[in-house]
Amino acid sequence: MHIVVLMKRVPTTELRVKIASDGKSLDLAGVEHVVNPYDEFAIEEALRTREKQGGEVTVVCLGPAEAQKELKTCLALGVDRAVLAQDAAPARDSASAAQALAAVLKTIPHDVIFCGKLAVDDQNYQIGPRLAELLGLPVVTAVSKLDLQGDRARARSETDAGSAEYEVRLPAIFTVEKGINEPRYPSLKGIMAAKAKPVTTAPAADAPAHLTQLRLELPPKRTGGKIVGKGPEAVPELLRLLREEARLL
């Protein structure tokens, strides 16, 4: 089985945002990058799929040359090969990113494509659905349980009000939800083996952007900070403030 997993390099979730001098992007000085946390679940699901079904796992990343580090992490986890669609642009909109990823996916065989349900930096939730349209494949989003049988899959999608089960014909795209599995850590053996695994690098395809970021700002700072009191004795005063000052309840 040809298993592909898409990975994005993002700033760590511990990030403290500083705005760059252009007023519309993140100041990247000193910012640590990691594999997008939702993609960690996608990588784990890809590895488990290979363990059950056989085949090979290819990780594809659209990103800068520095993403070699995160691709090595994926290889150390057990992914067989890595493809870097190297991008000079600092950030693409989802339309442009989906086109560049589709261009790569058209050149490599794929029975299943996994990715995180969103990237935690620009929070777009768009790549899976856009690729479904571009490649003419079915997509199930926010998958919390997946059962593959031959060329069919049963996928549970987490929805606003509960969950939905889909029967899917492969090839298909699955965007994964946190909690679908418990991602493994790289082993020492895996880290050693990663050194010998191939990373193919090619320039990412150009594609027009349709969304432009005009400004990036910090949210209005909360002033807050009124301690009502200590212990249960403070509860009546809290409720009075919520009713009379905040006009709630």
Partner: protein, 327 residues
């Protein structure tokens, strides 16, 4: 493109969803600005019968695909339907609520139309007819203002970003919309839907949220949080630490790798306030924190704080809230 505003409107349990009504409320204002009609497109069993009720929100035209085949969420069937609706109405703006269906359908439609898409937005304006859209990024640690280069402008709205307002007056027409594809040929077929029993509101849409953290010491103590939530008619949330520990399901996680919420009132109980959690709730209108550590970062953010033991404070709070609700 024309000057219509098209809104994807979802039916759940016989009523149109709050998030959809929020999108219609924004849609009505934009339709006034563009001096065009407000059009709703909707799919699902029973939508034709429910459609006339949308007149209350100033909807002038409804395109309805009714029937059991239209069980949502099912993007593969609904995306072509929305494409049909766009062809019929030539809208300048297409709005969604950023829930499960909207998250899949907005980018699918945008891809079909070869346009951009701004998702999970908290403010949408069109100064001089051009979009200026605010959307939280980095889990709310920053706000991006973005624009889209050409119409139709496809936008999804974060739940709770707009207050629902009724605007009756215009006459409404309901038309049947035929599916653009053979529903028997789908590659992903919906088998079943398991909806949680209606009781507590869903986290992103709730007006009040009560969240618990590691300060509760054990999963069984969340009963206390649930009781306070039920007294308030609130949703239950949780910090990442307790979700990772397996005390609570992931769908309740508030923060960077969970949900971002912006309720009227947010209670943080036994949550110290790691930056990942703060990111997910700091745009709440009013924050109340209960924590035994007076130096916990959550107090920097909270409008009102009580320092002390949650095990002593929360039961008293629940009892007082119940008394208040009865009076």
């Amino acid at each position: 493109m024309g000057n219509a505003v098209l809104v994807f409107t979802e039916l759940l349990g016989g009523a149109f969803r709050k998030g959809s009504l929020e999108a219609l409320t924004l849609g009505r204002d934009l339709a006034d600005q563009f001096q065009g009609p407000l059009v709703a497109v909707t799919a699902g069993e029973g939508v034709a019968a429910a459609a006339p009720s949308l007149a209350r929100f100033g909807v002038q035209r409804v395109l309805a695909a009714d029937g059991p085949a239209w069980k949502l969420p099912a993007g593969e069937a609904t995306a072509p339907l929305l494409h049909e609706a766009v062809k019929k109405t030539a809208p300048v703006v297409v709005l969604f609520s950023a829930g499960t269906a909207g998250r899949e359908l907005a980018p699918r439609l945008a891809q079909r139309l070869d346009v951009g898409c701004a998702v999970d937005c908290t403010a949408v304006r069109f100064p001089g007819g051009k979009p200026e859209i605010v959307r939280p990024v980095y889990a709310g640690k920053a706000l991006a203002t973005v624009t889209l280069d050409r119409p139709p402008y496809v936008i999804s709205l974060r739940p709770n970003a707009v207050t629902v307002k009724e605007r009756p007056g215009a006459p409404i027409t309901v038309e049947t919309l035929a599916p653009g594809i053979d529903l028997g040929s789908l590659h992903a077929v919906l088998q079943s839907v398991a909806e949680r029993p209606v009781g507590r509101p869903e986290l992103p849409e709730a007006d009040v949220v009560v969240s618990g953290g590691r300060g509760l010491k054990a999963p069984e103590h969340f009963k206390m949080i649930e009781e306070l939530a039920d007294a308030l008619g609130a949703a239950v949330g949780a910090s990442r630490a307790v979700v990772d520990a397996g005390w609570r399901p992931h769908r309740e996680q508030v923060g960077q790798t969970g949900k971002t919420v912006a309720p009227q009132l947010y209670f943080a109980i036994g949550i110290s306030g790691a930056i990942q959690h703060l990111a997910g709730m700091s745009s709440s209108k009013c924050i109340v924190a209960v924590n035994k550590d007076p130096n916990a970062p959550i107090f920097q953010l909270a409008d009102y704080g009580i320092v002390g033991d949650a095990f002593e404070i929360v039961p008293v709070l629940t009892a007082e809230v119940r008394k208040l609700k009865r009076s």
